[in-house]
């Protein structure tokens, strides 16, 4: 499979603290890959490092063969990375419509078609389209965050803990949406909810203490109870 995102021995830091000590992974075109690990392992920091929101000390980060290491976040995003942050990143002072519009690279026919696709995927957003985002529920905010990242012609979608703080019934519909999304978009998912990660991811990487420690097919991890207990505490 063609390689789309490549991280090799990535070391990154926040202030005086080194958070990632050597993360390596690859995501191919059209794949859905899950990053797993315990709390504080460095999963969220890895996504932020890819986006340029956390500074890289060493290592290689490439998208489609082009280096994104050390680039400004807005330039990385424009190279084709849609990012769904852990806290949704919704702008409360904007309406749902404005949250879409501010994220659009351009408001052409293709972009508006993608927005319509998102609104079909998440009908709640269509109903709340003119409302201020501060009035949305947690589930709706997550839908908006994912939908907003889909309006551009991105090459890959980075999704950080989409199930966090959501009710089980919402997580279930979110899983369905992510499965639908992965059919035409490459997805890199960070997730603590093992069931959701298994439902969406085809391959996995486990990060522990800022390092990649395991990788493989998701179906193998599902069977490997020992590995689950060792690194995921399941």
């Amino acid at each position: 499979m063609d390689q789309l995102l490549k991280a090799q021995d990535v070391v990154s830091y926040i202030g005086p603290y080194t958070i990632l000590h050597g993360v390596s992974l690859e995501v191919g075109h059209g794949e859905a890959v899950a990053i797993l690990g315990r709390n504080g392992a460095g999963k969220t920091t890895f996504l932020k490092t890819v986006m340029g929101l956390v500074k890289t000390r060493s290592g290689i980060l490439e998208l489609d063969g082009k280096s994104v290491t050390g680039m400004e976040p807005h330039l990385i995003q424009r190279m084709g990375i849609g990012y769904v942050p852990e806290d949704y990143g919704i702008f409360d002072l904007l309406t749902v419509e404005e949250n879409f519009r501010i994220a659009m690279w351009k408001e052409d026919k293709e972009t508006l078609e993608r927005r319509d696709y998102v609104l079909d995927l998440f009908p709640d957003l269509k109903l709340a389209y003119k409302r201020f985002a501060r009035n949305l529920s947690g589930g709706q905010r997550q839908m908006l965050s994912i939908g907003r990242a889909l309006v551009n012609d991105n090459k890959i979608l980075l999704v950080d803990e989409p199930s966090k703080g959501l009710a089980p019934v919402i997580i279930e519909s979110l899983a369905q949406a992510l499965i639908e999304i992965r059919s035409h978009t490459t997805v890199l998912l960070v997730e603590q909810n093992f069931a959701l990660a298994c439902a969406v991811g085809q391959r996995f990487y486990i990060i522990n203490e800022g390092r990649t420690v395991e990788s493989g097919l998701m179906e193998d991890l599902v069977k490997d109870k020992e590995l689950q207990a060792l690194h995921l505490g399941i």
């Binding site: 400004e72 995003q77 990143g89 702008f91 002072l93 519009r101 501010i102 994220a103 501060r134 551009n152």
Partner: protein, 331 residues
Amino acid sequence: MGTFVTLIINGLAQGALIFLMASGLSIILGMMGVVNFSHGTLFLWGGYSYVWSYYAIRFSVVMRLFPDAVPLTRFGSILTIRGVQLPPDAALPFVVELGIFLAALAFAVVLVFALGYVFEKLFISRVYGNIPAQILITLGIQVVFTDLVRVIWGPNPFPIERPPFLNGVTAFGGARIVHYNVFLIIVGAVIAVVIHRVLTRSKVGMVIRAGLQNPDHVRAIGINIRGYFSLVFACGAALAGLGGALYMPLVGNVVSTAGMSNQILAFIVVVVGGLGSFMGSALGSVFLGLMGVAIAMLIPGLSVVANVLVMALVLIFKPDGLFGLAVKKHG
């Protein structure tokens, strides 16, 4: 009743001036997280550059049209300000007076916009996220550029006049309506509507509102927010410059301490109104303006104390300000 109307108009005019200063300060502080103590000096530069350009243009126009006009006493230092007395029964046409006034205002606003842009690029951009450094560097700018005003235009206050077409008073039902105050209210209202429309109807406004909440998320959706920071800072500076330009003719003299005193008022409005809130800046400015003239009439010695007292009460009972953003602030 007449006194009441006079007070309301005077208070609204004061509020309009404070609003010009506070609205930019509030957005700079809310969106960029920059504690900007150089706002007062931008106000001052607006005032001095307006006065200098107004008198320079008017002197040149009058001397060309009326060669027997009499030049008046010269004020200033490196740059001088000189009035001119028209011959008896002579007057400049209204359109010419208006043109001179608008040209001088435009000069002041453009100059201070450019100053703000340069300040952001040279100094502010180096201290994002570092509040102690911001306070030191903007205070440094305040001191240096205020002294520069004194070097360029001299340290002493000097009197100035309002444009003749704004220099009247109308008696109406016992009230004394100063034309310049009505003009200030109209300018304040127009600027408020323009800012509101930009914030609510344009992509720039969307980015500003989003940036008020979380600049990092704005960057992560592909927007170069640092570019917007320069623009916002320069626009905030231009508003302060316009405030300074309109303030000098109101008080009738030019004094180099005006920047700091008005900056303190603007900071009080930002605290009272709520950080980054347009509505807070607008209503807070009107409130402080009205309260200022009322206190000045009733208990003149307490006008500064009253402002600080209001700020203290708001900080105690509503620390986010009366119209603080109803969002969780990040980043």
